[in-house]
């Protein structure tokens, strides 16, 4: 297999594996955060505004690692510096 063929193959495998893990793990973490937040809102409904704001900020922070993975995968697929053009 040619040089470029091996790099393309590796890119595809890494992109697929990376995006799978990179979206599954943050999604699980966000689910756990939402569970706790909903329990707290159910226990103290008058604090709902405060809890909602904190939940939103926490989810954005959890989401950001997923975005980092997406960024790397997109760079690998569309702007890969090692090969001429994949897409």
């Amino acid at each position: 297999m040619s040089e470029e063929g091996i790099i393309v193959l590796a890119t595809i495998i890494v992109a697929g594996l990376g995006i799978t893990l990179g979206t599954a793990i943050p999604a699980l973490a966000e689910g756990r955060a939402v569970v706790k937040a909903l329990e707290s809102i159910a226990r103290q409904p008058d604090q709902a505004g405060n809890l909602r704001t904190t939940l939103l900020i926490a989810m954005a922070l959890l989401e950001s690692t997923a975005i980092y993975v997406l960024l790397v995968v997109l760079i690998l697929l569309f702007a890969n510096p090692l090969i001429d053009r994949l897409f």
Binding site: N50, T53, L56, I57, A60, S64, I67, Y68, L70, L71, L74, F78, A79, F87
Partner: protein
């Protein structure tokens, strides 16, 4: 596809100027038109929303910090939403624009802290448990980096996904993705502003207060 990545449009005295600069001017014009032509009630609602959010996050009256943080929110919202318009690209998809905004936040955290507490108090609060000082410095740099990458990654992946789907199925399918891009843009603007407010608030807190912290 190639316009997704920023390219040089013209040069001034040999300095290349990218299309992100021009789109930033469009965003500025959009904001000025919005202020000129919007209902006064809408502007008051926006002001109240910003004031309440920033006061609760910084932990004290927001009057001093509202200009900077409110401007960040309004500018980033306008910049991200412009990316949805068909022939324009969001200026925040160029890595330099979120980097500049994050550096502004980084400098302003230290500026507001030193202005509120004075040189020595601010630096001694920064190095409170002295063995944590290297960790503190690294965390300052990491916070700036993560602000940049979060905003940049969200905007460029939204644009890239719309561009790819547009290349495959141009008829109606890109529309919900573009709508999702509007939502993501506004949410990321709010997150950027909220995190900046939290960092400024953390920089203002006194470790051993003689006066309670929310004065």
């Amino acid at each position: 596809m190639d316009t997704i990545f920023p390219h040089v449009v013209f040069t001034i005295f040999g300095i290349p100027v990218r299309d992100s600069v021009i789109t930033t001017w469009v965003a500025m014009a959009l904001i000025m038109l919005m202020v000129r032509f919007l209902n006064i009630d809408a502007l008051e609602a926006l002001f109240d929303f910003l004031n309440d959010t920033i006061s609760s996050l910084v932990g004290r009256s927001a009057a001093v910090y509202l200009p900077l943080l409110g401007t960040l929110f309004i500018f980033i919202s306008a910049a991200n939403v412009i990316g949805v318009v068909p022939f324009l690209n969001a200026p925040t998809r160029d890595l330099n624009v979120p980097l500049a905004l994050a550096l502004i936040v980084f400098v302003s955290v230290h500026y507001f802290g030193i202005r509120a507490k004075g040189w020595k108090d601010y630096l001694s609060d920064l190095a409170s448990p002295a063995f944590l000082l290297p960790l503190e410095i690294i965390s300052q740099l990491t916070r700036t980096l993560s602000l940049t990458l979060r905003l940049f990654g969200n905007v460029i992946s939204a644009e890239l996904i719309v561009a790819v789907i547009f290349a495959l199925l141009p008829l109606f399918v890109p529309l919900p993705l573009a709508g999702f891009g509007i939502f993501t843009g506004l949410l990321q603007a709010y997150i950027f502003t909220a995190l900046a407010a939290v960092y400024i608030g953390a920089g203002l807190e006194v470790t051993n207060p003689e006066v309670p912290n929310d004065q």
